[in-house]
Each structure stands twice: as structure tokens, then as C-alpha cells.
Symmetry: C2
Subunit: 348 residues, 2 copies
């Protein structure tokens, strides 16, 4: 059972995902700044896992506050929250978790709680966010697992597994695990997912741990394997879903979606409702992170491209809602028109 | 001016493309076996370059024959040809060049030439194949360059440049160079082309040499850059074109073609007629090479994927003719229906 981030009495325990699959190293983060750096540097990644980590970051920042003045405490929490919010722009779960922690702070303050009581309340709420995330995934696994046929192969892109979430199930890989838990025989084709290789390093590693058959391919092979009839469903996670059902996810997801459509293969998105941003009307408004070009030009110290080359390194893309067969959340399976079905899930 | 393979008095001089872009090392191949290994190990790659190299391999095998008996000489040439033919399965230029060299041998033998005369005739014919290849590319550049608009950006996949051919122009990059030679301002977006990174290592290197603006992306970004309106045309090379215009090319080409169609971007294939295989009715009959999985699981000695993972490593895919806007050869611009237009080019 994989749980990539955990609250402990010593600090936030976090699996260093940069070193997988060849090394399994756990870090103990003692400050909110260390948590923020871990998100920026992709020690932890995946929208739900970033959300859980940010909540723990706020709790850690509060815990480490040494003053006795409530206004100073509030200022510190605000500063911690702003620092954490600047780590990465696309995954909305980050902002969702920070907002929730701040609302919890405001409620506790309004209720006249002391600084030390609020510190404890924030720790409890961050742990609750984590538990709710795992419970959401369990439900996503259940609802999504029902959509997969026995003896079928799922293609997935990037890692939307236990490693990308609070742990245990995962979102896209939760759907696979849900089907397997129902007794279905499912195998997975994992895109390697350049440049950061989350598919090769993380999805492959995770599924090997669970004895779920997995075959690794390069990103540019997904069209070919679909054409050969090797894929019965595509399941991916998401970093942010707009109110109209447009889906921001790891760069390359859009290509997979276009190819799935071309081959009449269902394209499912699995994500908790905390990934849905009703304030974003369409995918056009979702900010797309561009990352350091060294991720593309080098693998560790090995130079792959000529010196001085121009590089574009978009970390995400947007898949328009008309390419999405269904969105699986902890509330069930939403289908088009998503502006209605997603809103309804929030109201339930 | 890049010429990746050359006949010299000492043997076949070949640029080791495995070491680019960080090292420019030339090998001197003294035997046909060294030429065959260079093709298998991808010291040289790209269909037209493989064809030229194989022709030189036959010439080298003949030159190194030490006997005086014509039957033994013929047997040796046959053995050399078979060895070279087993190096790689997909690029038809390999078989085309070997066949031509064998026909030249048979003609010379029938004409009563001596072994030493035939050795010289084979060297001359291999050099002629090389010169004709460069002339074909010059014409491809001319015809193809006319199709590109001024101030446009071309997306290309893999390396179909001077490095992939007998040299100077290239096929897909020949089209770019042809447009630039016409005074047009053209920039290129190069897919890195996993797993062998011909785009990052070779296309980027080649275009930097020529001061043609180039931006490197990962393979999974091509959909996103098309969606953003950054691409006005796609131009790729080919390893084998079936009689009906189905195009085998580097893995990932099919995905780019589907995406080009989705975005109404013209998808051009540039290749000499020696790449067209009229004996192959459709793309279904083109053998698709599968290569060592270590190309995907490792970059040099760095392990990217978990030990024991299953991997598919298809080196090529087939783009159906209905996704191909035009095929540019040394005879001109062929359009659908290709079964007619390609056959007509052979008859001209």
C-alpha cells in the first residue's frame, strides 16, 4: 500500500519521487518552506498529492510559529499560504487545500480558539483532507472500475496513481485497481511521459508493486498501439477540470485524447471534485506551467540536445470536453454536458 | 554542408551519429561487416543514408575479395548482400540499393568483365547511387520548398535531414532548406523523437549548423503546439511508402499525422522514389522493426524504468494515405490517389 506523504510527530514524511524507481528514499520535512520546495522540485507531484502536501505545509507553518500574538500568527499563516500557493500554477487542488486550511483557521479564530488550539485544529484538518482524499479515491475506484470490461487493456499517461494522491488507490490507477478488486483481469499500457518520465518511473513501479501487468511504451507509440487494437480504454487523471469539463492534465494527454477519439476508444478522466474548478469557465482560463528546459535537454548530467537550442517545455495541456467520454469523481460518473453534470455533483 | 557517409581510398568514412550532438567523430570502415554493424547499431540511420551505406558496403565487400574465381566472387557478393540485407527490416532503400548493386554486378559479369574490372564498376555504381541521392534531394527541396509559405513554422518528427540521407539537403529538412533557399523565412519545431532522440540530437544539431531557427519539444507536445496555432505545415521523411501511399516512418509519425488532420494542417512526406515500394500494396505489408527495449529503459547507463518491466519498442508506424496531403519526390509533388500518382512518377 503506497502512501507518498504522511503527517508524523517529527514532521511531514515524504517519498522522494525523483529517485524512483531505482531508489526508495523518504524525507522528513521539518518546515513549510521544505514542503514548498518539495512541491516546486517535484519530490511530490500529482494534483491530489500536491493538495494534501500543501495542507500539511500550512499545518507545519502554524506549528512552527513561536509568538503569542494572534495577529502575528494570522500574518504568518497568510505568508505560509502565499509561499505554498506560488509553488506550481496548474493543479487547482493546491489552492483548494490552502483555501480550506485558511477557512478552518478563520472559523477557529472566530470561535475564540487559542493559538495552541488552532495549531492542533489545523493539524487535524490537514489529516482530514488526507483521509478524505483517500476515501474519494476509493469511491473513484469503485465507480470507475465498473466502466472497465474484463480482460481489457487500459492505456494511461503520466502517473495518476497512489503516488499522485494521498495514497492507496490513485485516481486513474484507482480505476484500474477498482476493476481488479472486482475480480476483472486488467492490464495497463503506460506512456513513459517525457520529460519527467512519470510513466516509466512511477506508474510502472507502482503497478509492479501490485502485480498488475504493465507494458511501458514511449509517448509517441500510443497511436500505434491503439491502431493495433491493443487498447480498450484510456484512463487519465487531471490537474484541473474547468466548469465545462475541459481537462488540464500532463502534457501529451490532449494527443492521447485525439487518438482515442480517432480509434473509438473511450477516454475517461478520474479525479476528485477538489480538482474541478467551477471558477474556471473553460480550459482557456487554466494557466499552463512552463518548466525549466533542462528537463528536456538533459537526463541527469547527460546532454541530449545541442548547446544553446531553443526549447518549449509546457508541463500541461488542455483536452476539450468533447473528447472526454466521462469524468469519474467520488460522486459518480459525470457525462456531457459537463457544465450541468459537474455542478450537480457539487450540489449533492 | 553535411555529408554523413563517403567513399574514400581507405574505406567508407562515416559520421558516428550516436555521439551527436556532443561529439563529432568520424569512423573509417574497412570491411562490409563493419558497414553492416554500423547500420544495425545506428551509427548511420535514415532510409536514404542506409541505402547509400549499403551500396558502399557491397562495393567494399567486393573490393576485399581476394580470390581469382568468378563463381567464388559471385558467392561472396551474394553473402555480403545477404548480410547487409539483414541489418534492418523497414527502410526499403536498403534492399533497393543492394538489388541495384547486384544487378550492376550481373550486367558487368554478363558483359565479360574481369573481377578487378567489376570491383571498380561496383565502386563507381555505389558512388553514383550516392550522387543520385543528393540530386534527388535537391529536387525534393525545390518542389517541396514551393509548398511552404513565407514566415511559416514547420513541425518535423525524427531526423529526415542531410544526416539521414547521402547528405547536403535531406528530405524533410530538404524541403525546409529549399524554401529558405527561395528566400522564405521558415522556422522549425523539432519533436525530440524518443527513444533514440533523433530530433533532439540530430535535427536540432543540423539546423543550428545552418542557422535555421529551431525549437525543440518532446513528442507529446506536438498536439499542444498545433492547438496553439504555432504550426503551419508538417513535413516528415519516410522509410518505406507503399504503392497506395501508406507511409512507414519513425514511430510517432502516425500520431503527428492524426493531429495535423485534426488541426487542418497539411501533412507532407518527402522521400526519393527509392523509398517507394510498388511491391508493397499497402502499409499493412510493411514489416515494422521492434528494437532492444534498453533503448527505452536506459539513457546510456542511467536506468529510467524499474527492473523487469515489460516494454514494447516499435521503431516505426504506418500513416494511412488519407492523412497524407502530398508526397514530395524528385519527380514532383504526388497527390491522392497515390496508387496512380506514384506509379506515374516511376514511368516518367
Amino acid at each position: 500500500m503506497i502512501i507518498p506523504v504522511e503527517w508524523t510527530d517529527e514532521g511531514v514524511k515524504m517519498l522522494d519521487q525523483r529517485l524512483l524507481p531505482t531508489e526508495e528514499k523518504w524525507l522528513m520535512l521539518k518546515t513549510y518552506k521544505e514542503v514548498a520546495d518539495s512541491i516546486t522540485d517535484m519530490v511530490v507531484r500529482g494534483a491530489p498529492a500536491i493538495g494534501v502536501s500543501a495542507a500539511y505545509g500550512v499545518a507545519l507553518g502554524a506549528q512552527n510559529f513561536v509568538g503569542t500574538n494572534m495577529a502575528d500568527f494570522e500574518e504568518e499563516i497568510d505568508f505560509v499560504s502565499q509561499t505554498l500557493a506560488k509553488t506550481r500554477p496548474t493543479a487547482v487542488n493546491l489552492f483548494w487545500a490552502i483555501d480550506r486550511m485558511n477557512r478552518t483557521f478563520q472559523t477557529a479564530k472566530a470561535d475564540g480558539k487559542s493559538i495552541s488550539e488552532i495549531k492542533q485544529i489545523l493539524i487535524e484538518d490537514s489529516k482530514a483532507i488526507h483521509e478524505e482524499d483517500i476515501e474519494s479515491q476509493r469511491l473513484i475506484a469503485k465507480f470507475g472500475g465498473e466502466l472497465l470490461a474484463d480482460n481489457s487493456t487500459v492505456l494511461t499517461h503520466c502517473n495518476a496513481g497512489a503516488l499522485a494522491t494521498g495514497g492507496v488507490w490513485g485516481t486513474a490507477l484507482g480505476v484500474v485497481r477498482g476493476a481488479v478488486a472486482d475480480g476483472k483481469s486488467i492490464s495497463v499500457i503506460a506512456d513513459e511521459t517525457r520529460p519527467y518520465l512519470q510513466g516509466a518511473r512511477l506508474t510502472a513501479w507502482e503497478l509492479l508493486q501490485d502485480d498488475i501487468p504493465v507494458t511501458l511504451i514511449t509517448d509517441n507509440m500510443s497511436g500505434h498501439v491503439m491502431k493495433k487494437g491493443r487498447v480498450q480504454a484510456v484512463v487519465v487523471g487531471s490537474d484541473r477540470i474547468a466548469a465545462n469539463g475541459d481537462v488540464a492534465n500532463k502534457i501529451g494527454t490532449y494527443m492521447v485524447a485525439v487518438l482515442a477519439k480517432q480509434h473509438n476508444i473511450p477516454f475517461y478522466v478520474a479525479a476528485p471534485l477538489s480538482t474541478v474548478d467551477l471558477n474556471c469557465p473553460t480550459g482557456e482560463e487554466i494557466p499552463i506551467e512552463e518548466r525549466n528546459i533542462r528537463e528536456i535537454t538533459h537526463v541527469r548530467d547527460i546532454q541530449l540536445a545541442p548547446e544553446g537550442i531553443d526549447v518549449s517545455n509546457y508541463a500541461f495541456d488542455v483536452t476539450p470536453n468533447d473528447l472526454v467520454t466521462a469524468i469519474i469523481t467520488e460522486k459518480g460518473v459525470a457525462r456531457a454536458p459537463y457544465s450541468e453534470s459537474l455542478r450537480k455533483q457539487f450540489e449533492e
